[in-house]
């Protein structure tokens, strides 16, 4: 185990460099303004920070509430070992979203206006409220790790007492939040491409988040397992891999059924080049994983499961880019490709999260913990 840890520094150095570059770009953004550092324009008011950091970031944080639901609500105790890392990842994911918004907003110093001026008809209002409250809930959900480490028994007891209501609140907020990102796009019936625009966008967003949640957990726990030098629990990986095709199956039916009902299914064959993007997200992120995860042999190897999960994650990222950026029409006369500062900022924020996760594994009891609420999990270890 020691040796594997010694290998890490190279990765750490790269992450640190990326994080510092990101930090420098953020400074530039505050000094020179959005127009100077980004390629956004009147024709493309939302760029990569919204498409990647907000849209993908929130969806990839879905591992938190899906795992919490599996473990604490549906009684899937064997997944207990991944619950805490998943909640931490979700928490970091949401912090990143907030940080990215602080970069992306034109007047970030007025972000608190979202709390005092309410337009309850705005889907973005719902998003803002959910981001704020859910980040707080996630912090509470993760806090036992901190309290355990510090041996603060009183707060630990309090948190344990409200654990289940907290988890349920987290699930409700996530449900609203994941779907409300879809609701936001409902406002663009004239500019979002008809392959993607549908009144059921919020439902599609929700189901794709449900599917990507377990995939992110598989993906992430494999990577941390590799770099921390502990073997990934096969039972957990296989179990999660078994859940995914069911959710993706529902998602696929919704996607195709919706296109058929709206009479737009033909577009995925005829409307070049948009249809290529549709097939990319569906083949990579939905159809292929459904097939692979349904094969028993495939589920036998952790490595294959890892790659299957990676496909789901990739497909989701393509989907979110499709709806929030690529297939959202620009005003005539404009073009957009993210600038270096935009990319460096997004990458830098991502590196920050990786660093914090790495640190958390070093500092907090992440995998073997909480004897009191799950004795079975311990027995399995």
């Amino acid at each position: 185990m020691r040796e594997k840890i010694r290998k890490l520094p190279l990765g750490l150095i790269i992450l640190t460099i990326l994080a510092l570059t990101g930090f420098a770009s953020v400074i530039c953004r505050y000094l020179f303004g959005l127009g100077a550092v980004s390629n956004m324009s009147d024709g493309r008011g939302w760029g990569m920070w919204i498409g990647f950091d907000l849209y993908c970031g929130v969806a990839l944080a879905a591992g938190g509430f899906t795992t919490a639901a599996i473990v604490y609500i549906f009684g899937g105790e064997k997944y207990h070992s991944v619950a805490r890392p998943a909640i931490l990842t979700a928490f970091l994911g949401y912090l990143l979203v907030i940080l990215a918004l602080l970069v992306d907003l034109g007047e970030p110093w007025y972000i608190w206006h979202a709390i005092i001026y309410w337009n309850i008809h705005s889907p973005l209002f719902e998003v803002a409220m959910c981001v704020m409250t859910y980040t707080f809930v996630l912090a509470l959900e993760f806090s036992p790790a901190v309290f355990e480490r510090l041996h603060w028994n009183v707060p630990l007891k309090i948190i344990h007492a409200i654990e289940i209501p907290l988890i349920i609140l987290g699930i409700c907020l996530s449900t609203l939040h994941q779907s409300s990102l879809g609701s936001m796009l409902l406002m663009m019936p004239t500019t979002l491409h008809p392959i993607w625009y549908t009144p059921i966008l919020p439902i599609l967003f929700y189901f794709s988040a449900l599917a990507v949640g377990p995939a992110v957990v598989m993906f992430e726990s494999t990577i941390t397992g590799k770099s921390m030098g502990h073997e990934q629990n096969h039972e957990v990986m296989e179990g999660l891999g078994k859940i995914i095709p069911w959710i993706l199956g529902i998602y696929l039916m919704l996607k195709v059924g919706d296109l058929l009902v709206r009479g737009n299914f033909g577009l995925v064959f005829t409307d070049f080049p948009h249809n290529i993007l549709w097939w990319a997200e569906m083949l990579i992120g939905v159809i292929l994983p459904i097939i692979l995860f349904s094969i028993k042999k495939f589920r036998r190897s952790n490595t294959r499961l890892f790659w299957g999960a990676a496909l789901v994650v990739l497909g989701l990222i393509i989907n979110r880019f499709n709806v929030s950026l690529i297939n959202l029409q620009m005003r005539p006369g404009y073009t957009y490709f993210p600038s270096w500062v935009e990319i460096a900022t997004s990458v830098g924020l991502f590196a920050d999260a990786m660093l914090v996760i790495w640190l958390a594994y070093k500092v907090f009891p992440m995998i073997k913990h909480s004897q009191h609420d799950s004795p079975t999990a311990l027995k399995q270890d």
């Binding site: 505050y30 020179f32 303004g33 959005l34 127009g35 100077a36 956004m40 324009s41 009147d42 024709g43 008011g45 939302w46 604490y72 609500i73 549906f74 009684g75 992306d104 907003l105 034109g106 007047e107 970030p108 007025y110 972000i111 206006h113 979202a114 001026y117 309410w118 337009n119 309850i120 008809h121 705005s122 889907p123 973005l124 209002f125 719902e126 998003v127 803002a128 289940i164 349920i168 609140l169 699930i171 409700c172 449900t175 609203l176 779907s179 409300s180 609701s183 936001m184 409902l186 406002m187 663009m188 019936p189 004239t190 500019t191 009144p199 919020p202 959202l328 005003r331 005539p332 006369g333």
Partner: protein, 308 residues
């Protein structure tokens, strides 16, 4: 705003009061707030493109009134291309379109600015309510609320709101329908200066009647369509033209307001919240009970094994 917040508080109070109050809060939410926006009797502007000669006096008047400096999009030589026509210093502009008839070039000039929708996507999108449809017609912007999320820019079906990208403290900019002039009983700067009568400022409903009259009087000149009468649920600005409006760069949009689907989704939030909470609590209780039963039976088994 106040009413909105109060109804929301009531709603959330009701939600907290328990699952029993699932008496569809949806219609209440959907109908509150936006009533005034459906008011069709505010002020309007009729743009008769057959009368416009492209002199751009309105563009200059607009810049003067709003203290806007000149900017690259003013370059007249480019206004017939697919180049941007508006920016944060240009709230209105003239698009020149060659709708060649026979061998002769025929130029049509179309004034572009915020349409002041009856059900504006921008106002519905703005999470802090910085953009508002006023009873009298204008869709106004309140800088002191805006946080710069730019959702309004993306949500506008006509691609109107612009941003002060060059600034470190940027704000949204768009035509205000000269709300501040209207408040003083003046007409907007652009129509006040138009020398040909291509712009006419009056009550929206009167303008629709007048537009219908003009079409009836000269059916060979106009196409039989008032752009803005029903587009995205109607707009305060109305257009007449001799050629189809897409040719003039006015997008062919649906008659349903752009906010309809989003409004429905937002109305579903309280029931979804309650339903999910109930579902999860129920599932948790069932799982817990099942586990207890399991534990009991396994204990019994153990004891049974021991006694044997």
């Amino acid at each position: 705003m106040e009413i909105d917040r109060r109804s929301f508080l009531k709603l959330s109070a009701a939600s907290i009061a328990g699952a029993a109050v699932l008496v569809s809060p949806t219609p209440a939410l959907a109908s509150s707030g936006n009533e005034s926006q459906a008011n069709t009797n505010g002020k309007g502007m009729l743009v008769d493109t057959t009368k416009c000669v492209g002199c751009r006096a309105c563009v200059v008047a607009c810049k003067q009134w709003n203290h806007n400096p000149s900017s690259p999009v003013d370059d007249e030589s480019k206004t017939h291309n697919d180049t941007p026509l508006l920016d944060s210093k240009t709230f209105t502009n003239i698009r020149a379109t060659d709708v060649q008839q026979g061998l002769e070039p025929k130029w049509v000039y179309t004034k572009i600015q915020c349409m002041h929708c009856q059900k504006p996507g921008c106002a519905e999108a703005c999470l802090v309510g910085a953009l508002k449809k006023t009873e009298t017609g204008p869709v106004t912007y309140n800088e002191s609320k805006c946080i710069g999320c730019r959702y309004c820019m993306v949500a506008c079906p006509f691609g109107i709101p612009t941003y002060q990208w060059e600034s470190v403290t940027p704000w949204i900019r768009k035509c205000t329908f000269c709300a501040n002039r209207q408040a003083q009983g003046l007409q907007p700067a652009c129509s006040g200066t138009c020398p040909t009568g291509a712009l006419k400022f009056a009550n929206r409903s009167e303008l629709i009647d007048e537009a219908k009259q003009r079409i009836a009087d000269e059916p060979q000149l106009y196409i039989n369509h008032i752009y803005g009468e029903t587009e995205v649920g109607g707009t305060s600005w109305l257009y007449l033209a001799s050629v189809p409006f897409e040719k003039l760069g006015l997008p062919n949009v649906q008659t349903e307001p752009v906010v309809v689907n989003a409004e429905r989704a937002m109305g579903l939030v309280p029931p979804v919240l309650l339903g999910m909470a109930a579902l999860m609590t129920g599932t948790y209780l069932v799982t817990k009970r099942r586990k207890k039963l399991q534990a009991k039976t396994s204990k019994k088994d153990e004891q049974g094994a021991k006694t044997k």
